[in-house]
Symmetry: C2
DNA sequence: TTCGATAGTAGAACAGTGTTCGTCAACGAA
DNA sequence: TTCGTTGACGAACACTGTTCTACTATCGAA
Protein backbone atom coordinates (compact mmCIF):
# COMPACT_ATOMS: atom_id res chain seq x y z
CA UNK A 1 0.00 0.00 0.00
CA UNK A 2 1.37 3.44 -0.91
CA UNK A 3 1.96 5.75 2.02
CA UNK A 4 1.54 9.51 2.04
CA UNK A 5 5.01 10.97 1.58
CA UNK A 6 5.02 12.71 4.99
CA UNK A 7 4.46 9.48 6.89
CA UNK A 8 7.64 7.42 7.00
CA UNK A 9 7.16 3.77 6.34
CA UNK A 10 7.52 1.91 9.61
CA UNK A 11 9.16 -1.42 8.91
CA UNK A 12 7.18 -4.30 10.39
CA UNK A 13 8.86 -5.81 13.44
CA UNK A 14 10.39 -9.16 12.61
CA UNK A 15 8.46 -11.63 14.72
CA UNK A 16 9.98 -15.05 15.35
CA UNK A 17 7.84 -17.77 13.97
CA UNK A 18 7.00 -19.75 17.06
CA UNK A 19 8.93 -22.97 17.05
CA UNK A 20 8.20 -26.15 18.83
CA UNK A 21 10.17 -25.85 22.09
CA UNK A 22 13.24 -27.98 22.47
CA UNK A 23 13.33 -30.87 24.86
CA UNK A 24 15.51 -33.87 25.42
CA UNK A 25 13.34 -36.18 23.41
CA UNK A 26 13.38 -33.98 20.32
CA UNK A 27 17.13 -33.54 20.64
CA UNK A 28 17.67 -37.30 20.84
CA UNK A 29 15.26 -37.79 17.94
CA UNK A 30 17.32 -35.42 15.82
CA UNK A 31 20.58 -37.05 16.91
CA UNK A 32 19.19 -40.48 15.99
CA UNK A 33 18.32 -39.21 12.52
CA UNK A 34 21.85 -37.91 12.01
CA UNK A 35 23.26 -41.19 13.37
CA UNK A 36 21.21 -43.41 11.09
CA UNK A 37 21.74 -41.24 8.02
CA UNK A 38 25.41 -40.36 8.38
CA UNK A 39 26.90 -42.51 11.13
CA UNK A 40 28.19 -41.71 14.58
CA UNK A 41 31.07 -39.51 13.44
CA UNK A 42 28.56 -37.08 11.98
CA UNK A 43 26.70 -36.73 15.27
CA UNK A 44 28.03 -33.40 16.50
CA UNK A 45 26.33 -30.76 18.61
CA UNK A 46 26.32 -28.47 15.58
CA UNK A 47 24.78 -31.05 13.25
CA UNK A 48 22.08 -31.97 15.75
CA UNK A 49 21.29 -28.30 16.37
CA UNK A 50 21.16 -27.68 12.64
CA UNK A 51 18.71 -30.56 12.21
CA UNK A 52 16.53 -28.81 14.80
CA UNK A 53 16.88 -25.38 13.20
CA UNK A 54 18.71 -23.89 16.16
CA UNK A 55 22.22 -23.21 17.39
CA UNK A 56 24.48 -25.61 19.28
CA UNK A 57 24.31 -23.62 22.49
CA UNK A 58 20.57 -24.25 22.70
CA UNK A 59 21.15 -27.91 23.35
CA UNK A 60 23.02 -27.22 26.58
CA UNK A 61 19.86 -26.18 28.36
CA UNK A 62 18.66 -29.75 27.96
CA UNK A 63 21.77 -31.96 27.98
CA UNK A 64 24.85 -31.40 30.09
CA UNK A 65 27.35 -32.16 27.30
CA UNK A 66 28.07 -34.35 24.29
CA UNK A 67 28.75 -37.35 26.48
CA UNK A 68 25.27 -37.14 27.99
CA UNK A 69 23.81 -36.97 24.50
CA UNK A 70 25.82 -40.08 23.62
CA UNK A 71 24.34 -41.87 26.66
CA UNK A 72 20.86 -40.98 25.48
CA UNK A 73 21.71 -42.34 22.02
CA UNK A 74 22.91 -45.59 23.53
CA UNK A 75 19.68 -45.88 25.53
CA UNK A 76 17.62 -45.23 22.41
CA UNK A 77 19.55 -47.84 20.45
CA UNK A 78 19.17 -50.31 23.33
CA UNK A 79 15.44 -49.61 23.28
CA UNK A 80 15.25 -51.07 19.77
CA UNK A 81 16.09 -54.57 20.94
CA UNK A 82 13.23 -56.98 20.57
CA UNK A 83 12.94 -60.25 22.44
CA UNK A 84 9.56 -61.54 21.39
CA UNK A 85 10.08 -65.26 21.80
CA UNK A 86 8.78 -66.45 25.22
CA UNK A 87 11.49 -67.66 27.56
CA UNK A 88 11.97 -71.41 27.23
CA UNK A 89 14.18 -72.68 30.07
CA UNK A 90 14.99 -75.86 28.16
CA UNK A 91 16.50 -73.77 25.38
CA UNK A 92 18.26 -71.18 27.56
CA UNK A 93 21.57 -71.41 25.71
CA UNK A 94 19.97 -70.98 22.30
CA UNK A 95 17.88 -68.08 23.54
CA UNK A 96 20.86 -66.41 25.18
CA UNK A 97 22.68 -66.58 21.84
CA UNK A 98 19.58 -65.17 20.14
CA UNK A 99 19.70 -62.23 22.56
CA UNK A 100 23.32 -61.58 21.63
CA UNK A 101 22.43 -61.64 17.94
CA UNK A 102 19.60 -59.20 18.60
CA UNK A 103 21.94 -56.87 20.51
CA UNK A 104 24.31 -56.87 17.55
CA UNK A 105 21.43 -56.25 15.15
CA UNK A 106 20.28 -53.22 17.16
CA UNK A 107 23.81 -51.80 17.15
CA UNK A 108 24.25 -52.34 13.43
CA UNK A 109 20.97 -50.49 12.87
CA UNK A 110 22.62 -47.47 14.53
CA UNK A 111 26.01 -47.22 12.83
CA UNK A 112 28.81 -46.41 15.18
CA UNK A 113 26.76 -46.12 18.34
CA UNK A 114 28.92 -48.92 19.73
CA UNK A 115 31.67 -46.31 20.01
CA UNK A 116 29.58 -44.50 22.60
CA UNK A 117 28.25 -47.68 24.18
CA UNK A 118 31.37 -49.10 25.78
CA UNK A 119 31.43 -47.91 29.35
CA UNK A 120 27.80 -46.82 29.19
CA UNK A 121 25.27 -48.55 31.45
CA UNK A 122 21.89 -48.34 29.74
CA UNK A 123 19.22 -48.20 32.41
CA UNK A 124 16.14 -47.46 30.37
CA UNK A 125 13.12 -49.69 30.62
CA UNK A 126 14.02 -51.78 27.58
CA UNK A 127 17.60 -52.24 28.78
CA UNK A 128 16.28 -53.43 32.14
CA UNK A 129 13.97 -55.87 30.40
CA UNK A 130 17.02 -57.17 28.61
CA UNK A 131 18.88 -57.55 31.90
CA UNK A 132 15.93 -59.40 33.45
CA UNK A 133 15.64 -61.71 30.45
CA UNK A 134 19.35 -62.55 30.53
CA UNK A 135 19.11 -63.31 34.25
CA UNK A 136 16.04 -65.47 33.66
CA UNK A 137 17.84 -67.51 31.02
CA UNK A 138 21.00 -67.84 33.06
CA UNK A 139 19.10 -68.98 36.15
CA UNK A 140 17.20 -71.42 33.97
CA UNK A 141 20.64 -72.86 33.24
CA UNK A 142 21.43 -73.13 36.96
CA UNK A 143 24.18 -70.54 36.79
CA UNK A 144 25.06 -69.30 40.30
CA UNK A 145 23.79 -65.85 41.25
CA UNK A 146 27.09 -64.00 41.07
CA UNK A 147 28.09 -65.61 37.80
CA UNK A 148 24.70 -64.75 36.31
CA UNK A 149 25.01 -61.16 37.48
CA UNK A 150 28.50 -60.74 36.05
CA UNK A 151 27.55 -62.46 32.81
CA UNK A 152 25.03 -59.63 32.34
CA UNK A 153 28.08 -57.36 32.11
CA UNK A 154 30.24 -59.69 29.99
CA UNK A 155 27.67 -60.45 27.30
CA UNK A 156 26.88 -56.89 26.15
CA UNK A 157 30.56 -55.96 26.50
CA UNK A 158 31.56 -58.62 24.00
CA UNK A 159 28.76 -57.75 21.58
CA UNK A 160 29.58 -54.05 21.82
CA UNK A 161 33.25 -54.73 21.15
CA UNK A 162 32.35 -56.66 17.99
CA UNK A 163 30.06 -53.85 16.81
CA UNK A 164 32.76 -51.30 17.61
CA UNK A 165 35.32 -53.22 15.58
CA UNK A 166 32.95 -53.24 12.64
CA UNK A 167 32.53 -49.48 12.78
CA UNK A 168 36.29 -48.97 12.71
CA UNK A 169 36.45 -51.03 9.56
CA UNK A 170 33.56 -49.26 7.86
CA UNK A 171 34.96 -45.87 8.83
CA UNK A 172 37.94 -46.67 6.68
CA UNK A 173 35.65 -46.49 3.67
CA UNK A 174 36.98 -49.77 2.45
CA UNK A 175 35.27 -51.51 -0.41
CA UNK A 176 34.78 -55.27 -0.19
CA UNK A 177 37.75 -55.67 -2.57
CA UNK A 178 39.92 -53.57 -0.27
CA UNK A 179 39.05 -55.86 2.64
CA UNK A 180 39.73 -58.87 0.41
CA UNK A 181 43.14 -57.47 -0.51
CA UNK A 182 43.98 -56.68 3.11
CA UNK A 183 42.98 -60.16 4.24
CA UNK A 184 44.89 -61.87 1.48
CA UNK A 185 47.94 -59.68 2.14
CA UNK A 186 47.69 -60.60 5.80
CA UNK A 187 47.61 -64.29 4.89
CA UNK A 188 50.65 -63.93 2.64
CA UNK A 189 52.42 -62.12 5.44
CA UNK A 190 51.66 -64.90 7.90
CA UNK A 191 52.80 -67.52 5.39
CA UNK A 192 56.05 -65.67 4.82
CA UNK A 193 57.03 -65.62 8.50
CA UNK A 194 60.01 -67.74 9.57
CA UNK A 195 58.44 -71.13 10.27
CA UNK A 196 61.00 -71.91 12.94
CA UNK A 197 59.94 -68.97 15.07
CA UNK A 198 56.23 -68.91 14.22
CA UNK A 199 55.37 -72.51 13.27
CA UNK A 200 51.69 -72.39 14.23
CA UNK A 201 51.10 -68.92 12.87
CA UNK A 202 52.46 -70.09 9.51
CA UNK A 203 50.61 -73.42 9.61
CA UNK A 204 47.28 -71.82 10.55
CA UNK A 205 47.59 -68.74 8.34
CA UNK A 206 44.54 -69.90 6.39
CA UNK A 207 42.12 -70.04 9.30
CA UNK A 208 43.74 -67.07 11.04
CA UNK A 209 42.50 -64.97 8.14
CA UNK A 210 39.17 -66.66 7.45
CA UNK A 211 35.74 -65.81 8.72
CA UNK A 212 36.35 -62.09 8.82
CA UNK A 213 33.42 -61.40 6.53
CA UNK A 214 30.03 -62.52 7.74
CA UNK A 215 29.15 -63.57 11.27
CA UNK A 216 31.16 -66.76 11.71
CA UNK A 217 33.63 -65.22 14.15
CA UNK A 218 30.83 -63.58 16.11
CA UNK A 219 28.98 -66.91 16.25
CA UNK A 220 32.16 -68.56 17.44
CA UNK A 221 32.57 -65.94 20.17
CA UNK A 222 29.05 -66.28 21.47
CA UNK A 223 29.37 -70.08 21.39
CA UNK A 224 32.54 -69.89 23.50
CA UNK A 225 30.97 -67.51 26.01
CA UNK A 226 27.75 -69.51 26.33
CA UNK A 227 29.69 -72.79 26.63
CA UNK A 228 31.86 -71.19 29.30
CA UNK A 229 28.80 -70.05 31.20
CA UNK A 230 27.20 -73.49 30.85
CA UNK A 231 30.28 -75.01 32.47
CA UNK A 232 29.51 -72.99 35.60
CA UNK A 233 26.09 -74.58 36.04
CA UNK A 234 25.46 -76.00 39.46
CA UNK A 235 24.68 -79.68 39.49
CA UNK A 236 21.41 -80.56 41.07
CA UNK B 1 87.75 -9.24 15.40
CA UNK B 2 87.79 -5.46 14.96
CA UNK B 3 86.90 -4.32 11.46
CA UNK B 4 88.42 -1.34 9.69
CA UNK B 5 85.87 1.49 10.00
CA UNK B 6 85.23 1.67 6.21
CA UNK B 7 84.11 -1.96 6.01
CA UNK B 8 80.62 -2.36 7.42
CA UNK B 9 80.12 -5.29 9.73
CA UNK B 10 78.13 -7.95 7.92
CA UNK B 11 75.59 -9.43 10.34
CA UNK B 12 75.90 -13.21 10.52
CA UNK B 13 73.08 -15.03 8.73
CA UNK B 14 70.81 -16.69 11.27
CA UNK B 15 71.53 -20.38 10.79
CA UNK B 16 69.05 -22.95 12.07
CA UNK B 17 70.54 -25.00 14.82
CA UNK B 18 70.62 -28.39 13.17
CA UNK B 19 67.92 -30.60 14.66
CA UNK B 20 67.87 -34.31 14.82
CA UNK B 21 65.82 -35.28 11.74
CA UNK B 22 62.32 -36.59 12.30
CA UNK B 23 61.48 -40.19 11.71
CA UNK B 24 58.64 -42.49 12.60
CA UNK B 25 60.38 -43.91 15.61
CA UNK B 26 61.04 -40.53 17.19
CA UNK B 27 57.45 -39.49 16.48
CA UNK B 28 56.10 -42.63 18.15
CA UNK B 29 58.52 -42.12 21.05
CA UNK B 30 57.17 -38.62 21.58
CA UNK B 31 53.57 -39.81 21.26
CA UNK B 32 54.25 -42.55 23.84
CA UNK B 33 55.59 -39.95 26.27
CA UNK B 34 52.47 -37.83 25.87
CA UNK B 35 50.29 -40.95 26.23
CA UNK B 36 51.95 -42.12 29.43
CA UNK B 37 52.11 -38.66 30.99
CA UNK B 38 48.70 -37.29 30.04
CA UNK B 39 46.59 -40.11 28.65
CA UNK B 40 45.28 -40.88 25.20
CA UNK B 41 43.04 -37.82 24.92
CA UNK B 42 46.12 -35.63 25.11
CA UNK B 43 47.80 -37.37 22.19
CA UNK B 44 47.14 -34.91 19.39
CA UNK B 45 49.26 -34.10 16.34
CA UNK B 46 49.93 -30.66 17.84
CA UNK B 47 51.04 -32.03 21.22
CA UNK B 48 53.31 -34.62 19.66
CA UNK B 49 54.83 -32.04 17.33
CA UNK B 50 55.33 -29.70 20.26
CA UNK B 51 57.11 -32.44 22.18
CA UNK B 52 59.44 -32.73 19.20
CA UNK B 53 59.95 -28.99 18.85
CA UNK B 54 58.30 -28.82 15.45
CA UNK B 55 54.93 -28.07 13.87
CA UNK B 56 52.08 -30.54 13.31
CA UNK B 57 52.48 -30.49 9.53
CA UNK B 58 55.97 -31.97 9.90
CA UNK B 59 54.55 -35.23 11.12
CA UNK B 60 52.69 -35.85 7.88
CA UNK B 61 55.88 -36.57 6.00
CA UNK B 62 56.28 -39.65 8.18
CA UNK B 63 52.77 -40.81 9.13
CA UNK B 64 49.78 -40.70 6.84
CA UNK B 65 47.36 -39.41 9.49
CA UNK B 66 46.35 -39.59 13.13
CA UNK B 67 44.94 -43.04 12.71
CA UNK B 68 48.26 -44.38 11.50
CA UNK B 69 49.95 -42.81 14.51
CA UNK B 70 47.36 -44.55 16.70
CA UNK B 71 48.24 -47.87 15.04
CA UNK B 72 51.89 -47.30 15.82
CA UNK B 73 51.01 -46.53 19.43
CA UNK B 74 49.03 -49.77 19.67
CA UNK B 75 51.99 -51.70 18.27
CA UNK B 76 54.33 -50.05 20.75
CA UNK B 77 52.00 -50.86 23.65
CA UNK B 78 51.65 -54.44 22.41
CA UNK B 79 55.43 -54.66 22.32
CA UNK B 80 55.49 -54.16 26.09
CA UNK B 81 53.84 -57.47 26.78
CA UNK B 82 56.12 -59.95 28.45
CA UNK B 83 55.57 -63.70 28.49
CA UNK B 84 58.65 -64.98 30.24
CA UNK B 85 57.33 -68.23 31.68
CA UNK B 86 58.12 -71.19 29.39
CA UNK B 87 55.08 -72.78 27.80
CA UNK B 88 53.81 -75.66 29.92
CA UNK B 89 51.22 -77.66 27.96
CA UNK B 90 49.85 -79.19 31.14
CA UNK B 91 48.96 -75.72 32.42
CA UNK B 92 47.71 -74.28 29.14
CA UNK B 93 44.55 -72.79 30.68
CA UNK B 94 46.38 -71.10 33.51
CA UNK B 95 49.00 -69.75 31.13
CA UNK B 96 46.35 -68.47 28.71
CA UNK B 97 44.73 -66.57 31.57
CA UNK B 98 48.15 -65.22 32.54
CA UNK B 99 48.54 -63.93 28.97
CA UNK B 100 45.21 -62.13 29.23
CA UNK B 101 46.28 -60.53 32.51
CA UNK B 102 49.54 -59.45 30.91
CA UNK B 103 47.66 -57.93 27.94
CA UNK B 104 45.52 -55.93 30.36
CA UNK B 105 48.61 -54.85 32.30
CA UNK B 106 50.27 -53.55 29.13
CA UNK B 107 47.16 -51.59 28.23
CA UNK B 108 46.82 -50.10 31.67
CA UNK B 109 50.46 -48.99 31.44
CA UNK B 110 49.43 -46.91 28.42
CA UNK B 111 46.28 -45.11 29.58
CA UNK B 112 43.61 -44.98 26.98
CA UNK B 113 45.46 -46.77 24.21
CA UNK B 114 42.67 -49.34 24.26
CA UNK B 115 40.57 -46.66 22.56
CA UNK B 116 42.83 -46.91 19.54
CA UNK B 117 43.31 -50.65 19.83
CA UNK B 118 39.88 -51.95 18.94
CA UNK B 119 39.88 -52.71 15.27
CA UNK B 120 43.66 -52.53 15.11
CA UNK B 121 45.61 -55.65 14.15
CA UNK B 122 49.05 -55.37 15.73
CA UNK B 123 51.53 -57.17 13.49
CA UNK B 124 54.81 -56.22 15.05
CA UNK B 125 57.25 -58.87 16.14
CA UNK B 126 56.12 -58.90 19.75
CA UNK B 127 52.46 -59.12 18.75
CA UNK B 128 53.26 -62.07 16.51
CA UNK B 129 55.09 -63.76 19.36
CA UNK B 130 51.95 -63.29 21.39
CA UNK B 131 49.85 -64.83 18.60
CA UNK B 132 52.22 -67.80 18.35
CA UNK B 133 52.16 -68.32 22.09
CA UNK B 134 48.35 -68.24 22.22
CA UNK B 135 48.20 -70.78 19.40
CA UNK B 136 50.76 -72.98 21.17
CA UNK B 137 48.73 -72.98 24.37
CA UNK B 138 45.44 -73.59 22.58
CA UNK B 139 46.86 -76.47 20.57
CA UNK B 140 48.32 -77.87 23.77
CA UNK B 141 44.70 -77.96 24.94
CA UNK B 142 43.63 -79.86 21.81
CA UNK B 143 41.54 -77.00 20.51
CA UNK B 144 40.77 -77.53 16.80
CA UNK B 145 42.69 -75.36 14.35
CA UNK B 146 39.90 -73.00 13.37
CA UNK B 147 38.76 -72.52 16.96
CA UNK B 148 42.33 -71.79 18.02
CA UNK B 149 42.74 -69.28 15.20
CA UNK B 150 39.52 -67.46 16.02
CA UNK B 151 40.26 -67.50 19.73
CA UNK B 152 43.35 -65.45 18.88
CA UNK B 153 40.90 -62.76 17.78
CA UNK B 154 38.40 -63.19 20.64
CA UNK B 155 40.91 -63.06 23.49
CA UNK B 156 42.50 -59.66 22.77
CA UNK B 157 39.11 -58.23 21.78
CA UNK B 158 37.70 -59.02 25.21
CA UNK B 159 40.76 -57.70 27.04
CA UNK B 160 40.77 -54.53 24.95
CA UNK B 161 37.07 -53.97 25.66
CA UNK B 162 37.72 -54.22 29.40
CA UNK B 163 40.62 -51.78 29.15
CA UNK B 164 38.51 -49.45 27.02
CA UNK B 165 35.72 -49.47 29.58
CA UNK B 166 38.21 -48.55 32.29
CA UNK B 167 39.42 -45.55 30.31
CA UNK B 168 35.88 -44.26 29.91
CA UNK B 169 35.46 -44.40 33.65
CA UNK B 170 38.78 -42.72 34.41
CA UNK B 171 38.11 -40.04 31.81
CA UNK B 172 35.17 -38.98 33.91
CA UNK B 173 37.63 -37.84 36.56
CA UNK B 174 35.67 -39.70 39.18
CA UNK B 175 37.13 -40.12 42.63
CA UNK B 176 36.73 -43.50 44.32
CA UNK B 177 33.93 -42.00 46.42
CA UNK B 178 32.13 -40.89 43.24
CA UNK B 179 32.29 -44.44 41.92
CA UNK B 180 31.11 -45.73 45.28
CA UNK B 181 28.17 -43.35 45.22
CA UNK B 182 27.29 -44.27 41.63
CA UNK B 183 27.44 -47.99 42.42
CA UNK B 184 25.37 -47.64 45.54
CA UNK B 185 22.86 -45.46 43.72
CA UNK B 186 22.66 -48.10 41.02
CA UNK B 187 22.01 -50.76 43.64
CA UNK B 188 19.25 -48.69 45.23
CA UNK B 189 17.77 -48.15 41.80
CA UNK B 190 17.74 -51.89 41.09
CA UNK B 191 16.21 -52.59 44.51
CA UNK B 192 13.48 -50.04 43.89
CA UNK B 193 12.33 -51.60 40.63
CA UNK B 194 8.89 -53.27 40.57
CA UNK B 195 9.64 -56.80 41.73
CA UNK B 196 6.81 -58.23 39.66
CA UNK B 197 8.38 -57.06 36.41
CA UNK B 198 12.05 -57.41 37.35
CA UNK B 199 12.15 -60.12 40.00
CA UNK B 200 15.69 -61.33 39.35
CA UNK B 201 17.10 -57.86 38.83
CA UNK B 202 15.73 -56.88 42.24
CA UNK B 203 16.78 -60.12 43.92
CA UNK B 204 20.30 -59.97 42.51
CA UNK B 205 20.84 -56.23 42.89
CA UNK B 206 23.68 -56.89 45.32
CA UNK B 207 25.80 -58.98 43.01
CA UNK B 208 24.77 -57.00 39.93
CA UNK B 209 26.62 -54.07 41.47
CA UNK B 210 29.52 -55.88 43.10
CA UNK B 211 32.98 -56.53 41.78
CA UNK B 212 33.20 -53.33 39.79
CA UNK B 213 36.32 -52.25 41.61
CA UNK B 214 39.29 -54.55 41.33
CA UNK B 215 39.71 -57.37 38.83
CA UNK B 216 37.04 -59.83 39.91
CA UNK B 217 34.83 -59.22 36.90
CA UNK B 218 37.78 -59.43 34.54
CA UNK B 219 38.86 -62.69 36.18
CA UNK B 220 35.32 -63.99 35.79
CA UNK B 221 35.35 -63.05 32.10
CA UNK B 222 38.61 -64.75 31.36
CA UNK B 223 37.48 -67.82 33.29
CA UNK B 224 34.33 -68.03 31.19
CA UNK B 225 36.23 -67.63 27.92
CA UNK B 226 38.91 -70.17 28.84
CA UNK B 227 36.26 -72.63 30.08
CA UNK B 228 34.35 -72.15 26.86
CA UNK B 229 37.47 -72.81 24.84
CA UNK B 230 38.30 -75.87 26.93
CA UNK B 231 34.89 -77.29 26.11
CA UNK B 232 35.90 -77.32 22.44
CA UNK B 233 38.85 -79.61 23.05
CA UNK B 234 38.98 -82.65 20.81
CA UNK B 235 38.97 -85.92 22.66
CA UNK B 236 41.91 -88.11 21.95
C1' DT C 1 -1.77 -3.85 34.31
C1' DT C 2 2.96 -3.72 35.40
C1' DC C 3 7.23 -5.45 36.66
C1' DG C 4 10.77 -8.56 38.01
C1' DA C 5 12.43 -13.23 37.75
C1' DT C 6 13.33 -17.21 35.24
C1' DA C 7 14.12 -20.24 31.50
C1' DG C 8 15.23 -20.94 26.98
C1' DT C 9 17.25 -19.47 22.61
C1' DA C 10 21.05 -18.56 19.81
C1' DG C 11 24.99 -15.78 17.77
C1' DA C 12 29.65 -15.00 18.93
C1' DA C 13 33.67 -16.34 20.85
C1' DC C 14 37.09 -19.38 22.89
C1' DA C 15 40.28 -23.14 22.72
C1' DG C 16 41.03 -26.94 20.64
C1' DT C 17 41.27 -30.75 16.68
C1' DG C 18 43.11 -33.11 11.96
C1' DT C 19 44.74 -32.01 7.70
C1' DT C 20 46.29 -29.44 3.47
C1' DC C 21 48.67 -25.64 1.15
C1' DG C 22 52.49 -23.03 -0.03
C1' DT C 23 57.05 -21.68 0.78
C1' DC C 24 61.71 -22.42 2.05
C1' DA C 25 66.13 -24.83 2.95
C1' DA C 26 69.13 -28.63 2.34
C1' DC C 27 70.99 -31.99 -0.42
C1' DG C 28 72.55 -34.80 -4.15
C1' DA C 29 72.85 -35.69 -9.07
C1' DA C 30 73.86 -33.98 -13.55
C1' DT D 1 76.48 -24.25 -10.98
C1' DT D 2 71.90 -25.66 -11.71
C1' DC D 3 67.91 -28.23 -10.89
C1' DG D 4 64.81 -31.55 -8.95
C1' DT D 5 63.54 -33.91 -4.81
C1' DT D 6 62.57 -34.25 -0.07
C1' DG D 7 61.49 -32.75 4.40
C1' DA D 8 60.27 -28.97 7.53
C1' DC D 9 56.90 -26.00 9.16
C1' DG D 10 53.85 -21.66 9.59
C1' DA D 11 49.48 -20.44 7.96
C1' DA D 12 45.12 -21.56 6.78
C1' DC D 13 40.96 -24.34 6.34
C1' DA D 14 37.03 -26.71 8.16
C1' DC D 15 35.60 -28.70 11.88
C1' DT D 16 34.77 -29.84 17.16
C1' DG D 17 32.73 -29.05 22.28
C1' DT D 18 31.59 -25.64 25.28
C1' DT D 19 30.87 -21.00 27.50
C1' DC D 20 29.63 -16.15 27.36
C1' DT D 21 26.44 -12.71 26.61
C1' DA D 22 22.38 -10.61 25.07
C1' DC D 23 17.79 -11.08 24.02
C1' DT D 24 12.95 -12.79 24.16
C1' DA D 25 8.98 -15.08 25.96
C1' DT D 26 6.52 -16.61 29.77
C1' DC D 27 4.81 -16.46 34.27
C1' DG D 28 3.42 -15.05 38.75
C1' DA D 29 3.20 -11.52 42.29
C1' DA D 30 2.00 -6.96 43.50
Amino acid sequence: MTQPPWQPITPAKPTRTPKEPLNRERIVDAAMRVLVESGYDAVSMRKVAQALGTGPASLYAHVANKRELDQLLVERAAAQMRFDEPVDPARWQEQLKAMMREMLRAMRANPGVARAAIGAVPLGERALMSTERMLTLLKAGNIPDQAAAWAVDLIPLYVTAVAFEETVQSATDWKPEDVERFISGLRSYFESLPADRFPLTVALSGVLTSGAAGDERFEFGIAVIVAGLASLAEKN
